[in-house]
């Protein structure tokens, strides 16, 4: 009797200990794909899909800067860069080469949301930390994914514009290329706010590449057809700069417009005294992905998905952005400032 109750209480105690240890050990558990057998300094592989666009060059710049910082801390000794030249098959081959050369981490902008799944699973099985940002893959065989929310982008832009034109009026909607997921997702994100305000009429929409010239051309012809425009919902890139230039060339009055952090647009915003709003896909996603990869390799738990809050530029802080304009290429993007504290906060918040 006493014996069995002793056993019962002892096993209860053990069970309690196990239960209390369980969550604690889970919190200390390594992130996905991490086995703990890799030691600093690490080799980081940066599998880019296409290195030519300015946004990509600036992103690579933030990665290289972060690598320099991590080198000084003795955490990283080498950065290996590949460029798939837009070909998802080549990207798979290059990721395979990274596995073959036994890099410790792969940071990745995917050329296809599905194609790299199997090669990434192979990398994950070898204990390579994989941080995927910007263009995401569908597989969960990665350490973490990092991105902003495109739907939120569209929603916030639409809300600003509706507010700026007083809840009613005729607007143009400028989209990126058709069939591109970022462009589709931003447009879908704007839908709810537009539907909630039936007095806001979308008189026309455009689909152009995220460049000034095609957007300017498209808006110019729309302006001829529509003598009355109260606002422009532009969903990214250099589209807004094209629209502002089109209005200017026709001698039309500028209207409230949304946009992205393209330097040319921010400068026009100031020059023309616009009432505007802009957000961004921050280039430092690259630096943050690099930082996160090293954190994961160091045995820290990192969340499977890190949602980056959209930094907002409006008339209250545009001057702070333009003050730094000289540090950025003329056709580039003025991204919000970042430092290690921000990265720590982003990882802790999730």
């Amino acid at each position: 009797m006493t014996k069995s109750s002793f056993f019962a209480s002892a096993s209860a105690l053990c069970l309690g200990l196990l239960l209390s240890l369980g969550p604690a050990s889970q919190a200390n558990a390594a992130a996905k794909c991490i086995k703990g057998d890799r030691k600093a300094p690490y080799t980081i592989g940066w599998a880019n899909i296409y290195s030519v666009p300015t946004w990509m060059k600036q992103t690579q710049g933030t990665i290289e800067a972060e690598i320099e910082t991590l080198k000084k801390q003795g955490l990283v000794d080498k950065l290996v860069v590949t460029d798939a030249q837009g070909d998802a098959n080549v990207q798979i081959q290059q990721i395979q080469s990274m596995i073959d050369s036994d890099v410790d981490a792969i940071i990745l902008i995917a050329g296809s949301s599905t194609a790299p799944a199997r090669v990434l699973a192979a990398a994950c099985a070898k204990g390579i930390a994989i941080i995927n940002f910007d263009s995401l893959v569908d597989t969960d065989q990665v350490t973490a994914k990092v991105n902003t929310d495109s739907a939120q982008w569209g929603d916030q832009a639409a809300k600003f514009l509706i507010d700026a034109i007083g809840g009613k009026g005729k607007i143009l909607v400028l989209n990126g290329p058709a069939g591109v997921s970022v462009s589709d997702d931003r447009r879908k994100g704007a839908d709810a706010a537009l539907k909630a305000h039936p007095e806001v009429t979308v008189v026309a929409e455009t689909n152009t590449p995220y460049n000034v010239a095609p957007a300017q051309e498209a808006v110019t012809s729309l302006l001829f057809a529509n003598s009355e425009i109260d606002g422009i919902l532009s969903l990214g890139g250099a589209l807004s700069a094209g629209a502002v230039l089109a209005l200017d060339k026709q001698g039309r009055e500028q209207v409230p417009i949304t946009g992205e952090n393209a330097r040319q647009f921010l400068e026009l915003w100031k020059e023309k005294g616009l009432k505007s709003w802009a957000t961004m896909q921050p280039n430092w996603l690259g630096a943050f992905a690099t930082y996160t990869a090293v954190q994961a390799l160091e045995g820290k738990d990192v969340p499977a998905f890190v949602k980056i809050p959209l930094p907002v530029i409006d008339n209250s802080n545009i001057d702070q952005y333009l003050a730094r304009a000289a540090d950025f290429p003329a056709d580039g993007y003025i991204y919000s400032p970042y430092d290690e504290d921000l990265f720590k906060k982003l990882l802790a918040e999730q």
């Binding site: 290996v80 290059q94 395979q96 050369s101 599905t114 799944a117 199997r118 997921s181």
Partner: protein
């Protein structure tokens, strides 16, 4: 023709003839060998079963589309729809194989689509006497659009076992490639296959000699289509899914591989082994430059230099002679 002579004579002639056919691509073979040796030296894992398997898997789809383009160029044709056909093959495989059709049904659908579209393209080009470059450019939009209709966004699935079989840690892709090359050799021994070169080099002369010129050319388009959708099936297996634009880059790469391999644009000139070596060089280049630690910008420059070099070496030798 050597087939007219006795079989003993033909046998004695076979190797000298084959060696002579290599003349134009010897330089390319040397460059490819150098790259293979360099790759093996930089990445000793190449000589393990899984290392060799992964390497041949990267090369395999490019090898197939290089063959697909070479067959057409040998008959004096060309296709700008190669990439779209690969995409179509991939999305058909990824949408049918896990459905009621199963793997066998899906593979049949992929094969029939390839032969059907390829044959139809050939029929339009040959019978309606339209320029191949225009027909296949228009075809690339139609076929690419069809792939997007079947699978608007990347998705679908390939059974896990098939992916592991074709693109796992076994050299299945290499074995398949050897089989396909043997089949090509067999095809060249058939009347249609024999007509292929004749139809490309001198169609009028061949026609007057009773060679089925039109039949040979239409058959070439059908085989080419089959190779393309087959490559698409393999890409789908390799990636475990379908992507409606996955093949885009194959169009240009197939032409590059064929031209590197000494296939002439005017038809009747070049060998399949040349095209295969050309595709192998394109694939090897990517891995070797990675292991040499080239930066992306240096890779762009090096790629161009290597291609010019591989094409120029035999020309230099000709000039010297």
């Amino acid at each position: 023709m050597s087939t007219v002579g006795s079989s003993r004579q033909a046998g004695a002639l076979y190797w000298p003839v084959q060696l002579r056919r290599n003349v134009g691509v010897r330089g390319l073979f040397a460059v490819v060998m150098a790259f293979l040796v360099a790759y093996g030296f930089l990445f000793p894992g190449l000589f393990t079963a899984s290392g060799f398997a992964k390497f041949t898997q990267s090369w395999f789809p490019l090898a197939l589309v290089a063959m697909a383009q070479a067959i057409l160029m040998l008959t004096g044709g060309i296709s700008l729809a190669i990439g779209a056909m690969v995409s179509l093959g991939a999305v058909i495989a990824a949408t049918t194989m896990t459905g009621p059709l199963g793997v066998a049904g899906g593979a049949t659908a992929v094969a029939l689509t390839g032969v059907g579209i390829g044959g139809a393209t050939g029929f339009i080009v040959v019978k309606l006497r339209l320029p191949a470059i225009v027909v296949t450019l228009a075809g690339s939009f139609i076929i690419g659009g069809a792939a997007l209709l079947i699978l608007p966004r990347p998705g679908g699935a390939i059974p896990e076992w098939l992916s592991d079989l074709l693109a796992g840690n076994t050299p299945a892709a290499f074995v398949l490639l050897v089989l396909i090359v043997l089949l090509w050799k067999l095809y060249l021994a058939t009347p249609l296959g024999l007509s292929l070169y004749a139809a490309g080099e001198n169609p009028v002369g061949a026609y007057r000699s009773g060679v089925p010129v039109d039949g040979a050319r239409v058959a070439a388009y059908a085989i080419s289509g089959l190779l393309c959708t087959g490559a698409g099936l393999f890409v789908a297996a390799q990636t475990g899914s379908g992507d409606p634009i996955i093949g885009t880059a194959f169009t240009l790469n197939s032409i590059a591989a064929a031209v590197l391999g000494g296939i002439g644009f005017l038809g009747g000139q070049g060998t399949m082994r040349g095209a295969l070596a050309g595709s192998l060089l394109l694939s090897l280049m990517i891995s070797v430059m990675f292991f040499l630690g080239f930066t992306p910008v240096a890779q762009y420059v090096a790629q161009g230099l290597i291609i010019i070099g591989a094409v120029a070496i035999p020309q230099f030798r000709k000039v010297q002679r």
